[in-house]
């Protein structure tokens, strides 16, 4: 702003700080809770400052697990989540970028029909088709497997659409120049289109990783063996354990750990993420 109005500046800052506090407070409480022992967390008032049990709590949840329910160490659940999230995210990008490539650069019969068929699936939320999907996955014997966790979620109309729009904005002359240079379609795809779409890929990676990591309903359906539970599932199960006083310190430690990977992805890929959504580099 050109004007210098100290009161307005102070007021704007106040609003921003208040907003941050409102958003950050639950996270802070989660962290604080994960650093006390179980009995402190059941007494009131609830502490607002970190306690001395940080390392102990995290050690227990990571390597022994939450004994009252599943009892599997959280490391396994985190590993499962990581495999699922990366699988979904990389799979989505691979499939949608090749689908978009086919739709934009090749003239085949029913090309537009194929595009609209993909596009229409955007209108269907996962929950609508979850029962038939479960039937298919169960019939293929993919219950309790990584493929069962990943493959049904791998198709993405949104990503296909995003890549299609990006490819349409790439000048035709680039494809023609590469043809004259002697590059075949796949060569063009790998040498020119992929490097040009790297910011779009980065943006999608962030979005889809978080999407994959936060999956709850599908893993809940498709796994019934503890060794395939994901971190998000484990957190939820702990809180709803019956016939026991919940150990909030461990539950919150698990929640903190389950939150961490998406945060790290956002923090480290923030720049590419924003560029992918905003900038079109041509």
């Amino acid at each position: 702003m050109v004007e210098n109005r100290p009161w307005l500046t102070a007021f704007s800052h106040l609003v921003v700080i208040l907003g941050v506090l409102i958003i950050a407070f639950p996270v802070w409480m989660t962290f604080v809770a994960s650093t006390h022992d179980a009995s402190t967390m059941l007494r009131s008032p609830v502490p607002l400052l970190p306690g001395p049990y940080l390392i102990q709590n995290y050690k227990e949840i990571l390597f022994q697990g939450y004994a009252r329910t599943s009892g599997i160490p959280l490391t396994i659940a985190l590993m499962n989540s990581m495999i699922m999230a990366l699988g979904i995210c990389i799979g989505k990008i691979l499939i949608s970028i090749t689908a978009a490539f086919a739709i934009v650069y090749f003239r085949f019969p029913f090309r537009m029909a194929a595009f609209w068929a993909i596009f229409v699936t955007l209108m269907l939320p996962v929950e609508v088709r979850i029962v038939p999907t479960y039937g298919v996955v169960a019939g293929l014997g993919m219950i309790n497997s990584y493929s069962g966790l990943i493959i049904p979620l791998i198709a993405s109309a949104t990503a296909t659409f995003l890549f299609r729009q990006f490819f349409l904005s790439v000048p035709d002359e680039l494809a023609e120049a590469s043809r004259v240079d002697g590059a075949g379609p796949m060569r063009f795809f790998v040498d020119i289109l992929l490097p040009m779409s790297r910011t779009t890929i980065a943006a999608l990676f962030v979005i889809q990783f978080i999407y994959g990591w936060n999956q709850y309903l599908w893993p809940l359906l498709v796994t019934n063996h503890e060794s395939f539970y994901t971190a998000v599932m484990v957190v939820a199960r702990q809180a709803t354990a019956v016939d026991a006083t919940p150990s909030w310190n461990l539950i919150m430690a698990a929640a903190m750990l389950a939150m961490l990977p998406p945060v790290l992805v956002v923090v480290f890929m923030q720049r590419q993420f924003v560029r992918g959504l905003v900038e079109t580099e041509k």
């Binding site: 680039l174 120049a177 043809r179 004259v180 040498d191």
Partner: protein, 352 residues
């Protein structure tokens, strides 16, 4: 280096609309051919058919007497320079220039040698590590040329390569491209809508209109003896004046009533259109022009006026002659400067 032959080349989209209606042309080895015409005349389509980017509907195109109708662009051994340069944005200048060679599996040392040599010719040696977006328009243009040169192709194809540059750079690059082509001696086909580029660069011109080659010839032939009304009006700036009239009973033309009556060998009563270039008119005698507007260009003065029968006429005078609007200006034409065209068919009939 090669010859290029087009024999009855046609192009249509889905049958009905024929955008190229049969072009016949033999291009000699090392010749610089310019295809010129208004937008939508099919000139770019024709070039893209030679390149292999558009399918050929009818006829055949041969490069070095090998028919290439069904060959992929890469197998035609041609290089193309695009209007927007089409440089790969994520590759450095060096990588851009060497990409085609790398695909062909050429050895690293030979690629390096060729790129360095081309960069030397084009004076872009110090930019080899830069990305296209770090270059100015003129430099990008050179890189696009470089990408074509390193391939050492049989023919260069240029698709309006200068139209994205500013006027001054355009003149400079025009001269450079022409020099370069002379130096390398590579057969070139150059598409443009700019008649100055066409006139100055071409060994031979193809003037196209609505998918037809109206005239093929050297720039001077096309200027001095345009074969149709379209060519006469398209080549030359300011454009040729046209006056519709009839051949009188004694075989003469009555221009502006009978103020001027050049002699023709044509049948009396025939409808003809007479063309006269503004630069072939001079003051004195004959026609009486009512001056309406005067444009001062410094070196020349363009006089827009009307004849006594109401037809408009543009006269180009030396810069030191400045009539004022409203004046009456006596005008005469040089001998043999009148171009005669058949009004109905638009075909050239001769001069008078």
């Amino acid at each position: 280096m090669a010859t290029v032959s087009m024999r009855g080349v046609r192009k249509s989209y889905g049958g009905a609309l024929e955008v190229i209606q049969g072009i016949d042309m033999e291009i000699a080895d090392g010749e610089f051919i310019v295809i010129v015409g208004p937008s939508g005349c099919g000139k770019s389509t024709l070039l893209r058919m030679v390149a292999g980017l558009e399918k050929i509907t009818g006829g055949e195109i041969a490069i070095d007497s090998r028919v290439v109708n069904n060959l992929e662009p890469k197998d035609r051994d041609i290089a193309m320079v695009f209007q927007n340069y089409a440089l790969y944005p994520h590759m450095s200048v060096y990588e851009n220039m060497s990409y085609g060679l790398r695909i062909r599996g050429m050895s690293k040392t030979e690629i390096d040698e060729r790129v360095k040599r081309a960069a030397g010719i084009l004076e872009i040696g110090q930019y080899l590590d830069r990305k296209p977006r770090q270059l100015s328009g003129g430099q990008r243009q050179r890189v696009a040329m470089g990408r074509a040169i390193v391939r050492e192709p049989k023919a260069f194809l240029f698709d309006e390569p200068l139209s994205n540059l500013d006027a001054k750079l355009r003149v400079q690059m025009r001269v450079e491209i022409k020099k370069l082509q002379r130096q390398l001696g590579v057969t070139s086909i150059y598409v443009t809508h700019d008649q100055v580029e066409a006139m100055t660069m071409a060994d031979r011109l193809i003037v196209m209109n609505k998918g037809v080659a109206e005239q093929i010839g050297t720039p001077i032939e096309v200027y001095a003896a345009p074969s149709t009304l379209f060519v006469a009006g398209f080549i030359g700036s300011p454009a040729m004046n046209f006056l519709e009239t009839r051949v009188s009973s004694d075989g003469r033309l009555a221009i502006d009533g009978a103020a001027l009556s050049p002699k023709t060998g044509l049948d009396p009563g025939r409808a003809v259109t007479v063309g006269i270039r503004p630069e072939h008119l001079a003051t004195g005698g004959g026609l009486d022009v009512q001056v309406e507007l005067v444009e001062l260009l410094g070196a020349d003065t363009l006089v827009h006026g009307r004849l006594s029968d109401g037809k408009s006429l543009v006269v180009r005078l030396p810069g030191n002659q400045v009539p004022t609007a409203g004046d009456r200006l006596p005008v005469q034409a040089y001998d043999g400067a009148w171009h005669l065209f058949d009004t109905e068919t638009g075909k050239r009939l001769g001069t008078a």
